[in-house]
């Protein structure tokens, strides 16, 4: 037993061990002070250029996860066969041997029958290398239960544009930053701790921030200007600004569009690029007044705008096609959609294009680049909608109008990991689109193999919400089987997914559920066997995920002896693979995803069992060379460095990026042929369009059915997904902030409805209803109600944390109608009715 301290511990006591935070997916560099075998303090690692010594509240609370008295520290089996919310599973401690034997037996039975019958919900983003386990088991049914809310449409568009995975404005050089539905640099998204420092530095040098958000978020509160907007209409605001640039000011970066995109490529009447007999894309050559191959015409002679008649064909440039679409998107029209005044749309558009300095250049590292210090940044709130593909495309195209993609000051792609942008040549001088970076594009198949229909989302990412749609309506989708087992690996689909009542029906159908996790959750309460994983302070991992300005891995390493009788998740999955007889395929998959096939001397022997340390030792040496083995990382903590200008700015060189997304249209047309041949009717193809425009989402249309308010959820830097809501330290901080303690309602709206702070209100959407105490505030759009994600856990084991029934996701619909038909992205807002059900102080 470690010694106890009755006095404060001095920083000089014990030793400081470098490691990596695991409280969210991004992994800031940390130092952990360990005294007498006990971790006593976590600080940001100042040597790590990613987070620059900073740490967010979650990271600071990391010790509370390690030493949480309600953590599960040994394998457990359920003794109560009855399952359901509030039902005590009757957990009983068992040995690892019994646990492994039971899980391997049950899963092997499923595998030998039909491996597809295993559903895997995996939410451990840092251990992304392990995500292929279901594939080698033989099941296509892997979903995160989280990604559909935020990255469903976002990642495919980033990958299709420039081979990146995410994106962020250039903190170092941007002067005018439009922030739409995002907490980047303020409260959330990419590498918050370091990003907040970079944002603060940019503000100190005078960068202006405009924030669009239905709620006065942290970003909005700190911005130069907050523009309240209706949820899901951000795209209309930006289309209105694009209209101003293109049709009113006629100010856009013609040089960039001609030289670096396919905007001048000709498009035919059917929406495909006009090609010659050799299949070369053609442009209109202004020198000879006829179409010529794109690579035979000087950029200055390429027509960017215009319609052309040629040999009986009606041709337009890709840019002209969008110009024509934008004509109907005047600020006045978009003001009707967004509630933002037309004058504001015009003013912001003008400020933006003024700040962009079209034509300017800057020298960085002896190389001259275009300089565009104005950019629009966005994330979940503005694009996690049923038309999310259009949202994402709109924001990219708007940035492209001023030529700011991947140049200093502009909107920069962020790679998935140390490999950088995915760069390979595609057709017609273009960068090859890479909508999938986590797995190969799933080929079409009917009947579908997967319950989330990945075979029908050729550019999609994670439509996990469709599990409920298909499993409960198998005939509609031709699903030939019913899942009967589930693996939960750091994932809480019961809490994360929309329409909780449907998720409950799926859980009830499972004959066997195994959970790999650290603590009990709403979902693990349905498990038959619980396999306890180790926390980030007890395990080994090399981490590099979505680093906005740096590259390189940092090491997660054990800083204390593991508590209880826990095992590392990699070792759990490997043991199960070995017991079920597919260790060789598991090792082969790791050979592939770890990149060992590129350096065969590092390949795993298919028949041999490797420890976590052996795996990551090879991983380290494979990337950094034999002088950077695991021991090197143990001592130094990380190999993170700032990305160079060549790695950051247009790393694809002279390859063009798409303005006209022909491949999206082509992909949709091919899918239509396949689905119609299979007899599948009613599939939503409309979003497979090469260019975005405004159309109402189902949420907007729900307003016609009497749901007159919009409901949104929001998060703060205190929390990540569902995980941190059960931590007393963080929960206590949340509870001190009124915005996390009720349903936010605009004060004027509350007055109109006769609702005061503390009154009990019910929100009812087409999908469900929730109740809570009203919090009347000024900082929310009058037609919007807001529900913090910090008050929504329904099952907690820690007595220091309150459980609360106001789970926002119960308001969300998860059906195909509320899903982007091209990407699988989920609609994350809802229309609701608001009613007062009790006055403040009255028990309900």
């Amino acid at each position: 037993m470690a010694a106890t301290h009755s006095t404060p511990i001095a920083p000089s006591e014990g030793r400081w061990i470098p490691s990596t935070c695991g409280m969210c997916l991004h992994g800031c560099g940390i130092k952990v002070q360990v005294v007498d075998g006990v971790a006593v303090k976590i600080e940001g690692d100042a040597t790590n250029p990613d987070n620059l010594g900073k740490l967010c509240p979650k990271g600071n609370a990391g010790l509370a996860r390690l030493y949480d008295p309600t953590r599960v520290l040994w394998p457990m089996k359920r003794t109560n066969p009855e399952k359901g919310p509030g039902v005590d599973p009757g957990w009983e401690r068992i040995s690892w041997e019994e646990a492994y034997e039971t899980v391997a037996r049950e899963l092997d039975r499923v595998r030998k029958d039909d491996a597809r019958k295993l559903l895997c919900a995996i939410g451990d983003f840092q251990r992304i290398l392990l995500w292929g386990w279901p594939a080698v088991f033989g099941s296509p049914n892997f979903f995160t239960s989280l990604g559909n809310y935020c990255g469903g449409s976002y990642h495919p568009v980033n990958g299709s544009l420039d081979g990146s995975f995410a994106a962020i404005n250039d903190y170092e050089h941007c002067n005018y930053w439009i922030q739409i539905g995002s907490g980047d640099g303020f409260s959330s998204h990419l590498h918050l701790a370091g990003s907040s420092k970079r944002m603060a530095d940019a503000r100190m040098r005078g960068m202006k921030v405009i924030s669009l958000d239905p709620r006065c978020s942290i970003a909005s509160a700190k911005a130069d200007e907050w523009i309240p907007i209706l949820p899901g209409t951000d795209r209309a605001f930006v289309l209105g600004m694009a209209h101003v640039l293109v049709h009113e000011l006629r100010r856009y970066d013609r040089k960039f569009l001609r030289e670096h995109t396919n905007a001048p490529y000709l498009v035919d009447e059917k929406g495909y690029q006009f090609r010659d007999e050799q299949g070369q894309a053609l442009v209109w050559d202004l020198a000879v007044h006829e179409p010529r191959p794109w690579d035979k015409v000087a950029a200055d002679n390429m027509a960017l705008e215009g319609s052309y008649h040629y040999e009986g064909r009606e041709l337009r440039t890709g840019f002209q096609v969008w110009m024509d679409l934008l004509e109907s998107h005047s600020p006045e029209k978009m003001a009707e959609v967004t509630t933002v005044p037309a004058a504001t749309i015009r003013r912001i558009a003008r400020e933006f294009v003024d700040a962009a300095q079209i034509g300017a250049t800057v020298e960085i590292g002896n190389k001259r680049y275009p300089y565009r210090p104005a950019a629009l940044n966005y994330y979940r709130g503005s694009q996690s909608h049923a038309n999310g593909l259009f949202d994402n495309l709109t924001y990219k195209l708007f940035n492209m109008l001023v030529g700011n993609i991947d140049v200093p000051g502009g909107h920069l792609g962020v790679p998935l990991d140390h490999r950088g942008f995915f760069v390979s040549p595609g057709e017609d001088g273009m960068l090859k689109p890479e909508p999938h970076q986590l797995h190969p594009a799933p080929p079409f198949k009917y009947p579908p193999d997967s319950t989330h229909l990945m075979e029908w989302f050729p550019i999609g990412f994670d439509a996990g919400q469709l599990n409920a749609e298909t499993i409960l309506n198998p005939q509609r989708f031709g699903l030939e089987y019913q899942p009967e087992a589930m693996m939960l690996y750091h994932s809480n689909p019961w809490w994360n997914m929309p329409e909780t009542n449907k998720i409950e029906q799926i859980f009830r159908r499972m004959k066997f559920v195994v959970a790999i996790d650290i603590h009990l959750t709403e979902s693990t309460q349905w498990a038959d066997i619980f396999l306890p994983d180790r926390t980030f302070l007890e395990s080994t991992l090399l981490n590099c995920l979505e680093p906005p300005v740096v590259t390189g891995h940092s090491l997660r390493q054990p800083v204390v002896e593991p508590l209880g009788d826990t095992r590392d998740a990699y070792e759990i999955l490997t043991e199960l693979a070995q017991r079920m007889g597919f260790l060789d395929n598991w090792n082969d998959l790791l050979n592939l995803v770890c990149g060992f096939t590129a350096k065969p001397q590092n390949m795993l022997d298919p028949e041999k069992r490797y420890s976590t340390e052996e795996l990551f030792d090879r991983f380290a040496r494979n990337i950094y060379g034999d002088d950077h083995d695991l021991d090197w990382f143990r001592e130094h903590g990380h190999a993170v460095r700032k990305r160079t200008p060549d790695e950051t700015y247009m790393p694809y060189g002279k390859l063009r990026i798409p303005f006209y997304f022909e491949f999206i249209k082509r992909t949709g047309d091919e899918l239509r042929v396949n689905l119609e041949a299979a007899g599948v009717a009613g599939w939503p193809y409309e979003n497979y369009a090469p260019l975005p425009y405004w159309k109402n989402s189902p949420v907007i249309d729900d307003g016609k059915r009497g749901y007159d308010f919009y409901a949104i959820t929001f998060k703060e830097p205190l929390h990540t997904f569902a995980d941190t809501l059960v931590m007393p330290w963080l929960s206590e901080v949340s509870e001190k902030d009124p915005i996390h303690q009720g349903i936010l309602l605009n004060a004027a709206t509350g007055k109109r409805l006769g609702i005061a702070t503390g009154d009990r209100v019910r929100l009812t959407s087409p999908a469900g209803s929730i109740e809570g105490a009203a919090q009347c505030v000024e900082g929310i759009h009058p037609q919007v109600v807001g529900v913090s994600n910090a008050i929504t856990r329904e099952f907690v084991t820690n007595s220091g944390v309150r459980a609360n029934g106001s789970h926002f996701n119960r308001l969300l619909a998860g059906s195909l109608d509320y899903t982007d038909g091209a990407t699988g992205g989920l609609e994350s807002s809802a229309r609701v009715r608001v009613e007062k059900i009790a006055v403040a102080g009255w028990a309900h």
Binding site: C120, I122, W131, G132, P134, A135, V136, G138, S139, P140, F142, F143, T144, G147, G151, H155, S424, H436, L438, H439, P440, P442, P443, D449, S450, H452, M454, F461, D462, G464, D584, N585, D588, L589, N591, L592, T597, A598, P600, M603, D605, P606
Partner: protein
């Protein structure tokens, strides 16, 4: 006779009986390389992976990190190149 390193994963590994091997072969193309590798079924890797002059859709050949297009079997191999052969992992989906 170029010498390349052939890596076989999963089902292909079981068919050829090795995980990785340096192979010198008569000829110069991917097709000729595949033809030179025997499988446990008695034929060659070409018989397993190629159909109607194209790489079968359920297999992949990756050379120096780049997937070989299905119709590029006549691609010439240089000595020292790294050739990975595997069945396509159809079920690696999600995200």
């Amino acid at each position: 006779m170029p010498e390349v390193r052939v890596i076989a994963l999963g089902e292909v590994r079981r068919q050829v009986g090795f995980s990785q091997r340096e192979i010198s072969f008569a000829g110069a193309t991917v097709r000729e390389l595949l033809r030179s590798i025997a499988t446990k079924q008695g034929g060659s890797l070409e018989d397993l992976l190629v159909c109607e002059n194209r790489l079968r859709g359920d297999y992949a050949v990756v050379i120096e990190g780049l997937a070989l297009p299905a119709d590029q079997l006549e691609r010439r191999l240089a000595g020292g190149e790294n050739v990975v052969t595997m069945a396509v992992i159809r079920h690696l989906s999600g995200g």
